[in-house]
Amino acid sequence: MPTKLMEILGRYRPLIEDWEGWLAALENPAPTYARLNTLKGSESEICDLMSRSGLHLVPTLVPTCYELRDCDHPGHLPMYFQGLFHSQDLTSAVPSWLLNPAAGEMVLDLCAAPGSKTSHLAQLMENQGLIVANEIQTHRLKSLVANLERLGVTNTAITRYAGQDFPLRIQFDRILVDAPCSGEGTLRSRQSSRYASAPRLHERLANVQGRLLVRALKLLRPGGILIYSTCTYAPEENEEVVDNFLQQGGVQIEEVPCPLPHHPGITAWNDKTYSSEVTKCLRFYPSEVNSTGFFIAQFRKTGDL
C-alpha cells in the first residue's frame, strides 16, 4: 500500500473489522460492472446480445447490474455507444435502486453529472413521469447530456442551479442527493497518485453536504423519500452530516433493506458521538462488495417544512 494512500485511509482502521482484507481489496483494480439499459430492450435480450458478442456477464444482487469480465474498456464497445448498457460501479447503482421511484412520479437528482444515477432512475421509471437532473458544474453538463442521450432518456430535464439554492417553486416525490464528497471509496492503490487531500477537506465538504440536504428537504413533499449518498468512508461527511440533519427536525431516517453486504452507520468517531438513529445508515466496503466504498442513508419527510 503506497504511503500516501495509507496516510489518507489509515485513520479508518478502527472502523474496519477485516483490515487486512480491506487493504488487500484495494490492491486490486475494481471489477467492471455494466447496468443493462432496459429502456433499449429487455434485460434478457440485451444479456443475450452481449453474451453472443463474446462478453462474459456475471449477475449481481442488484437488478440489471452485471459484472463484465475480461473487458477493460467497455466504453469502446459499439453496444455502449448504442446505449444498451452503462458502465457503472455496483455500489453506485444502489442509491437509485433503493430510491425506487414509481413510473409517474416527480423526481429530483440534485447532483446529477455524469448521469449514471439519473439514467438508472429513468430506467426504473420506464421513461415516464419527470426527472429533474441538476448539475451546477458547467464542464460536467456535457457528459450528463451525452449519457442521457446515448441511453435514450426522454423523461428528464437538466437544470444548472447550485444545489443548495435550487428554487423552491416545485415539490418532488423523491429526491436523490448523491453529494460531492472526498471520494475515498473509489481509491485503489494504483490510483493513489491522482488523489490529493486538501486541508480541512472533510469539514468543507460536510458544510456543502449539509446545505444540500436542508434544501432537498424543503423541495420534498410531505411523506416523500430522500436518499443521501457519498462514495467516502469519512464519518465527517456521512454520519455527522446525517446526525446534524436529523437534529433539524421534520425528517426521520428509515431502515433500508439491502441484500449487498454492508455495515450500520457508526455512532462515535474521534471525540464525537452521534444519535443511535444513524445506525440505520448503510456502509459498504470494497472487500465485501467487490466495488467502490459507499455510504447511503434514506429519509422520509414527516412535516410540512
Partner: protein, 156 residues
C-alpha cells in the same frame, strides 16, 4: 414556458419519420415534441411538465432531429431509440464495415435504398445515422462519440 413544436411542425416531422423510416406516427402519442431552436426534442408526456415553467431548464428530453436547409436530419441517438419501429431506409453493414462507420469513415459501395438519411444497422442493432449519397455512405456519428471502438472478439 416550454416551447412545444407548432402543430404544423409536429405533423411535418412525424410525416417525415413515417415516410422515410416507416416509424408509425402512433408511437409518438406518449411523447411531446419541443422546438429547441435548431433542434426538435422528444420528451415523455407527463402532467409534471407544466411545473417546469417555474424553473430554468437547460435541456429537456432526447434530441430527435436537427433542422437543416435541406430538411430534417435525424440524430443517431434518436434512430437508436426508435430502432424497434424502423422498417425503411435501413442499411445493413458487413461486419468489417461497422467499426469504420462508427469511427466516422465513409463506406463506398452501392446500397438498395433511396439516397438521403438512413438508419445504419450492425450486428447488434441500429448503430446510428448515415447519409447515403451514392456511391458513398457517409457516417453521421457525432465526432465526440467516435471512440476507438472494438468488438470483444477482436480485442487483444
Amino acid at each position: 414556458m416550454l416551447n412545444f413544436a407548432r402543430p404544423e411542425t409536429y405533423s411535418a416531422v412525424l410525416s417525415y419519420l413515417a415516410a422515410r423510416f416507416g416509424i408509425p406516427e402512433e408511437i409518438f402519442a406518449d411523447y411531446g415534441i419541443l422546438d429547441a431552436g435548431s433542434n426538435l426534442r422528444l420528451v415523455s408526456a407527463s402532467p409534471h411538465l407544466d411545473s417546469l415553467s417555474a424553473i430554468k431548464v437547460e435541456v429537456l428530453g432526447l434530441r430527435l432531429v436537427r433542422k437543416t436547409n435541406k430538411g430534417w436530419k435525424p440524430t443517431s441517438a434518436a434512430l437508436q431509440f426508435l430502432a424497434p419501429w424502423i422498417s425503411k431506409s435501413v442499411i445493413q453493414l458487413e461486419p468489417a464495415e461497422e467499426i469504420p462507420f462508427l469511427q466516422g469513415r465513409a463506406i463506398e459501395r452501392a446500397f438498395e435504398v433511396e439516397p438521403g438519411y438512413v438508419a445504419v444497422q450492425g450486428r447488434t442493432g441500429i448503430l446510428g445515422c448515415g447519409l447515403y449519397r451514392p456511391p458513398f455512405l457517409l457516417s453521421q456519428i457525432p465526432a465526440a462519440s467516435r471512440a476507438p471502438f472494438f468488438f470483444s472478439e477482436t480485442k487483444e
